[in-house]
């Protein structure tokens, strides 16, 4: 199981989710993608993306205007 990291600060909707989707094929089942983003809609968007694509959102934390999320593939 590998942990991949994506830093998406400054990107606006829908770019963070787009970047995650482009990165997704590089991950194996069980891998974790850790994302740092500051787009206002990111928490709801990442939740919706995980639900639609069957991935598990482990958490999405507000860290003072930045969102730190982990998704398990």
């Amino acid at each position: 199981m590998a942990v991949h990291k994506l830093e998406l600060l400054g990107l606006k909707c829908p770019q963070p989710i787009l970047k995650i989707a482009v990165e997704a094929p590089k991950l194996q089942a069980g891998d974790i993608l850790e994302v740092l983003a500051d787009c206002e809609s990111f928490p709801r968007d990442i939740e919706a993306w995980c639900k639609k694509t069957g991935r598990t959102l482990l958490f999405c934390r507000d860290e003072g205007g930045k969102y730190n999320a982990q998704v398990q593939f």
């Binding site: 606006k12 829908p14 770019q15 970047k19 989707a21 482009v22």
Partner: protein
């Protein structure tokens, strides 16, 4: 895989930007995306034009375009443009396909998401 179809019916930002924003969200969510440009949108597809679209507050159009493309999305231009606008295939960027309306309609059969801008 669900299908999402977008029609772009003009060459202004209000036509192309929503299609790219929603289209890239569809592609990112695993949908098969088709974006169909009518002849009225042909100006957008001249080489280098999308790259210049950087409307305030939005992501750059080319970032969304390339994201859709990298996720397998298709960009179609109505072939009527050749006569309507007296243009040639070579007048357009090389990552679009000239297709007939029937091809587009056939390919999007069963699409669950459709928008026109």
């Amino acid at each position: 895989m669900a299908k999402a179809a977008y029609v772009v019916n003009g060459a202004e930002n209000k036509n192309i930007i929503p299609a790219l924003v929603l289209g890239s969200s569809s592609a990112a969510s695993g949908d098969e995306v088709f974006i169909f440009f009518t002849p009225g949108a042909a100006e957008l597809l001249k080489p280098g034009k999308i790259e210049t679209l950087k409307p305030k507050g939005y992501p750059e159009a080319i970032e969304l375009w390339n994201g859709i493309k990298s996720l397998g999305g298709k960009f179609y231009l109505c072939e009527l443009v050749l006569d309507v606008k007296d243009m040639k295939k070579e007048d357009f960027r090389d990552d679009i396909e000239l297709v007939g309306a029937t091809t587009f309609i056939s390919e999007i059969e069963g699409a669950q998401t459709t928008f026109a801008f």
